[in-house]
Structures are given as structure tokens and as C-alpha cells.
């Protein structure tokens, strides 16, 4: 097996005397999605932010391409940020309300590819916008004019702008309607296929985790209690907490639902990530 892309060892975060995150260790390989499942308060968001050093960690190492992200200096860290991106849970809050979509998407380019002309930037922005299924007319809009799903697409476009090697997704679909969640999950899966991005996908929703992860880690009370391949974990969970979690998933329908005749699962879309109509 090749070198892991991300090697987290003994990562821990103490906050005001409370152990928000115990000693957590895991690895992520190239083109792989590690799903992180846990309830709220389990420490999963803390983990996401600690790995990217958005909050200070109390102990441990985050080895990325041979360097420890937690110990390198500010400039090195910033230079690596183009490879490590994050998508947040609340899509509207993660966008600057006073910046148009164009401005938001241009920022990564302005930071890391300053030599681009305005025209070149525009081309890149439009291409990524189309790639996430939004119309070019969205460029001049502000976040408050977009729906939650659209905002999340913008956030994903921003994160993918520089083709990062690792994308951390912190509950990216939890605040969206159930009917829209699939659009975003499919989009992320497609982007992984196209750009080879690894993902750390965090969610409390087991069905979504099951769908997108290659391997799954379960977090409880700040500790990783079980890590396994996706199929293994769902077929034969080992830890009692994992088992309880799987059992608690709402059995949605008391009666089996046959697929209604002639209603396709995806509504008239040749582009499978659910392109938004203009």
C-alpha cells in the first residue's frame, strides 16, 4: 500500500479543561473517502477543524506529505492550504454575505495564482461553476439570494477551485432538505472521481456515510472506537456503540415500498449531478 496522504497520530484537543477530543489516530490514502460517523457532541467537528489547524490542538501530529501541520510555521501552513480544503455544514454562513459568488470563487485564485489575469480567472471560475451544476448567471448573485443547496454548491466550487488533494466535509448535507441531499452527495462523489480528491466525510447520517465512504471511522465521546472498511462496518459492526447506532437508524417505512412504475429515480437529468435549471 502506498504512503498515506494524511496520517493523523494521537490528535487531541482540550478545551477549557474538557477533553473535546481524545487521542485520535487514522490515515487517509489518495482517492479515498474516510467517513466519520458520530453524534453531535462526539467531537467530529472538533476533529475536522483540528486536522486543518483551524483550532489549536493540544497534542498529537498531523502528518501531511512529510510535514507535521501542527508544528510548521504560518507561511508553510498557508502554502499547504491549497491542497487541504473544507466544506462546512451551514452553507449560507460559510459564504461572505457581502461578496458575490464571483468574488467568493475568485478568492482562492487571488491568493494562490496571482499571476492570472482577470480574464483567465473568469474562465476558471465559470468552468468550476458549471462543473458544480450552477448557471453562469449566478456569478453576480449574493448568498442571500440563493437556496441552501445552491450555496453549498458554491462552497464546494470554492473548495475545489485549486483541485485540492484532501477535502474535509463537515456535515455538508445535514442542513439541506432530504430531497436535495442526494444532489450534493452525488456531486461530491463525481468530483472525487474526476479530480482524484480524497475526502474526510463527516456526518451523523449513516445512510449518507454508507453511500460515499470507502472506509468508516466511528467517533464517540471524543474517541475513535471503531475503524473498518465500509462494507465490513455495516455488515458486521464490532463495537457495541456502533451496533446501537445502526439499530437506531429510523426504519423509515413499516411496509416495503415498490418503485412506482415509470417514475425514474433521477428526474430528467443527463448530467447526473443534478444540474440546476437556469
Amino acid at each position: 500500500m502506498s504512503e498515506p496522504l494524511l496520517d493523523v497520530r494521537g490528535l487531541g484537543v482540550d478545551y477549557r479543561g474538557v477533553r473535546a477530543l481524545g487521542d485520535v489516530s487514522f490515515q487517509i490514502r489518495a482517492r479515498e473517502t474516510l467517513g466519520l460517523v458520530g453524534e453531535s457532541g462526539s467531537g467530529k467537528s472538533t476533529l475536522a477543524r483540528a486536522v486543518l489547524r483551524l483550532i489549536p490542538a493540544s497534542r498529537g501530529q498531523v502528518l501531511w506529505r512529510g510535514m507535521d501541520l501542527l508544528r510548521c510555521d504560518g507561511a508553510t501552513l498557508r502554502s499547504q492550504r491549497r491542497e487541504l480544503q473544507i466544506v462546512f455544514q451551514d452553507p449560507v454562513a460559510s459564504l461572505n454575505p457581502r461578496m458575490t459568488v464571483a468574488g467568493t470563487l475568485a478568492e482562492p485564485l487571488r491568493i494562490f495564482e496571482r499571476e492570472l489575469t482577470a480574464v483567465e480567472r473568469r474562465v476558471r471560475i465559470e468552468r468550476m461553476l458549471t462543473r458544480v451544476g450552477l448557471a453562469a448567471s449566478m456569478l453576480s448573485r449574493y448568498p442571500h439570494e440563493l437556496s441552501g443547496g445552491q450555496c453549498q454548491r458554491v462552497a464546494i466550487a470554492r473548495a475545489m477551485m485549486l483541485h485540492p488533494r484532501l477535502l474535509v466535509c463537515d456535515e455538508p448535507v445535514s442542513s439541506l432538505d432530504v430531497s436535495i441531499q442526494g444532489q450534493i452527495v452525488n456531486l461530491l462523489a463525481d468530483l472525487q472521481g474526476e479530480f482524484g480528491t480524497s475526502m474526510l466525510f463527516i456526518s451523523h447520517n449513516l445512510a449518507v456515510i454508507r453511500h460515499i465512504s470507502h472506509r468508516v471511522a466511528v467517533i464517540h465521546d471524543g474517541n475513535l472506537i471503531e475503524t473498518a472498511s465500509c462494507d465490513d462496518l455495516f455488515a458486521a459492526p464490532v463495537h457495541p456503540y456502533t451496533r446501537a447506532l445502526l439499530e437506531a437508524v429510523l426504519a423509515p417505512i413499516p411496509v416495503p415500498v415498490p418503485v412506482p412504475a415509470r417514475v425514474p429515480v433521477e428526474v430528467r437529468d443527463s448530467d447526473q449531478s443534478g444540474r440546476e435549471p437556469e
Binding site: 441531499q181 442526494g182 462523489a189 454508507r210 453511500h211 462494507d231 429510523l250 418503485v259 412506482p260 433521477e266
Partner: protein, 327 residues
């Protein structure tokens, strides 16, 4: 209305509309909804964000902002409550007719202890003394299965977990033994395991106290586990309404069928695409032309684009608004 014509429905709306003035005209969040909740019944109301499901019940509770206009009729236990003067409304609201909101953190006052907030309801509505009210508050916490009630009463909202705060909200709504509790997305802010427990709690409370419940959610799974009857809303109207078991087994409206497809399924294989509904629902400000769902509907024909389907009775106790319903 097809169901429950004989006995008095706890809540019955007739052609309820909610309009908001916006620059350039009006936006209709609710475009004429008629539904009913019977005694001891649970009605589930399902729809995406923007379908008008919350606005509908905010109108019933009289909680719309001043600029909004609600027209039509809403009969609560036979009495018209739409447009009721505030003093009359306040006697009903919070006691006989209660609402539980989505985010308990913003519904509970952060600076008051739990016990005080609970007791206040009783002192205000039932005229109890503070001593009696506090005792009643303690039993309210017991009723919603919060252990160690005495200690909890002295705590502040931020000291409780999300699930526990929601239980407190539910407990608060039950203090005056309401006839109807409207729960608006009561579990959306909570985890899966906590969600299951809250819904179980609601089920038990219904059995114990005989209250009627309106359960509003964008998640059909949440509604399916508790409701006797389900009404599906889209773009401010009811597009399908049927007994829960029937709706889940055999949906009539294409939108409902697609929502069922989108239900999370832990057993779905990884190689499948995750199902979803493409595009998005029209907003309140968009004008209506034909069936609102037509742009996203796989069965849409020309007729659908020009003629809006009316809500018609189809089966026993079921109605649907579609030119080409399934089955």
C-alpha cells in the same frame, strides 16, 4: 374534506392563504390549504423548505409578522381563531393549542432557569401559585422522561443537551393539557438516535394524554413513524393527503413517490447514485402557471404546464392534486 365529517375536528382549516407584501407585489407562502386534524389523531405535514408548511401553522397560531395577511378559515375546536383578538388568542395559545419549534435553543429564554420558564406558563395560564407551579413543572419533566428532574429545574438551557432541551419544550407545551400540539421540525436539529427517542416520546404522550399532534417535517421518515394521516405540501398547496400507511405503500402523486425514493436507506449499495429531486421548488413570489411541480415532474404533459390540477378525492379518505396520478 373526506375524513372525519361526523365528529368535530380539533383543527380544521379551509382555503387558508398566507400572503406577504414584497417589493413589486405579493408573495403567497400558502395558496389555499384545507385540512383537518381529528381528536387523538396525528397529522403529518411534509414538504421541502419553502413549501409553506411552517407558514400555514404560524398563521393558525397567529404568529405571523404584522405585514403578513392570512385569509380563509381556521377552526380550532369549532371556534374561528384566524383574526382572533389578542386577549382571546392568548388564552388559547400556550394552553389548549401549543407549538413546539425546531430549535429549542432559540425558543427557550437563555437567561432563565428551566424551572422558572415552566412554572411561568402555569402561573400565567392556570393562575397557580409559584409553589404549585414548580411542583407541576417537576412532574412535567417526569412526563417527558427527563431523569433527575429536581436538578434539571435549576439549570439553564445551555447546560442541557439538544435532545433534552427539546424534551423540555415538549413538556412546556403539555403543561396545560392541550388539545393539539403542533410540532414544527422537532427533530431536525438532533441526531438520529435522539430523534428516534423524541418521536417515541411523542407517541407515548399521545397514547397517555390523548392529545392531537401535527408533525411538520421535510423528512418523510420522521413523519411516517408517527402520523396516522399525511398531507404532502408543495409550493403552498396540498398535493396529496391520505392515511399514512396507504401513502407510504402506494403514493399517488409523483412528488410523494420521489420523496419516498429519497428516504435514507442504510442498505443501499455504494455504487448506486443517491436519489434526489433535481432542481428546486418555486418560491412564494413566483407566479403560478399550471401545476407547480410540472418542471420537475417526469410525468408532466402539456396539460400540466397550463392547467393547475385541483385537489380531488380519489380513494377512500385520500385526495390528490394531479392530472396523472400514479395507480
Amino acid at each position: 374534506m373526506t375524513q372525519d365529517g361526523a365528529t368535530l375536528a380539533t383543527l380544521r382549516t379551509r382555503e387558508l392563504r398566507v400572503d406577504h407584501p414584497v417589493p413589486g407585489g405579493t408573495a403567497s407562502a400558502v395558496r389555499g390549504v384545507s385540512l383537518a386534524v381529528g381528536a387523538h389523531q396525528c397529522l403529518g405535514v411534509v414538504g421541502e423548505s419553502g413549501s409553506g408548511k411552517t407558514q400555514l401553522f404560524m398563521a393558525v397560531m397567529g404568529l405571523l409578522p404584522g405585514s403578513a395577511r392570512a385569509t380563509g378559515s381556521a377552526l380550532f375546536q369549532g371556534e374561528e381563531i384566524l383574526g382572533l383578538p389578542p386577549d382571546r388568542l392568548n388564552r388559547i395559545r400556550g394552553s389548549k393549542l401549543a407549538m413546539v419549534f425546531q430549535d429549542p435553543m432559540t425558543s427557550l429564554a437563555p437567561h432563565l432557569k428551566i424551572g422558572v420558564q415552566l412554572a411561568e406558563v402555569l402561573v400565567h395560564h392556570r393562575g397557580l401559585s409559584w409553589r404549585d407551579a414548580e411542583r407541576a413543572a417537576s412532574s412535567a419533566l417526569d412526563r417527558v422522561r427527563i431523569p433527575d428532574a429536581q436538578r434539571r429545574l435549576k439549570q439553564y438551557p445551555h447546560e442541557l443537551s439538544g435532545g433534552m432541551r427539546q424534551r423540555v419544550m415538549i413538556g412546556m407545551s403539555l403543561l396545560c393539557e392541550p388539545a393539539l400540539v403542533i410540532a414544527d421540525e422537532p427533530t431536525s436539529a438532533l441526531d438520529v438516535t435522539v430523534q428516534a427517542r423524541i418521536l417515541e416520546l411523542l407517541r407515548q404522550l399521545r397514547a397517555e394524554m390523548g392529545i392531537s399532534i401535527v408533525l411538520i417535517s421535510h423528512d418523510l421518515a420522521v413523519v411516517a413513524s408517527l402520523a396516522d394521516r399525511v398531507a404532502v405540501m408543495y409550493a403552498g398547496r396540498v398535493v396529496e393527503s391520505a392515511p399514512a400507511a396507504d401513502l407510504l405503500r402506494r403514493a399517488l402523486h409523483p412528488y410523494t413517490a420521489l420523496l419516498l425514493q429519497c428516504l435514507p436507506d442504510v442498505h443501499r449499495l455504494r455504487t448506486d447514485r443517491m436519489p434526489f429531486l433535481a432542481g428546486q421548488a418555486p418560491g412564494a413570489g413566483d407566479p403560478e402557471r399550471g401545476c407547480a411541480f410540472a418542471p420537475r415532474c417526469p410525468r408532466a404533459t402539456d396539460r400540466c404546464k397550463h392547467e393547475r390540477p385541483a385537489l380531488v378525492d380519489v380513494r377512500e379518505a385520500a385526495e390528490v392534486a394531479c392530472h396523472h396520478p400514479l395507480a
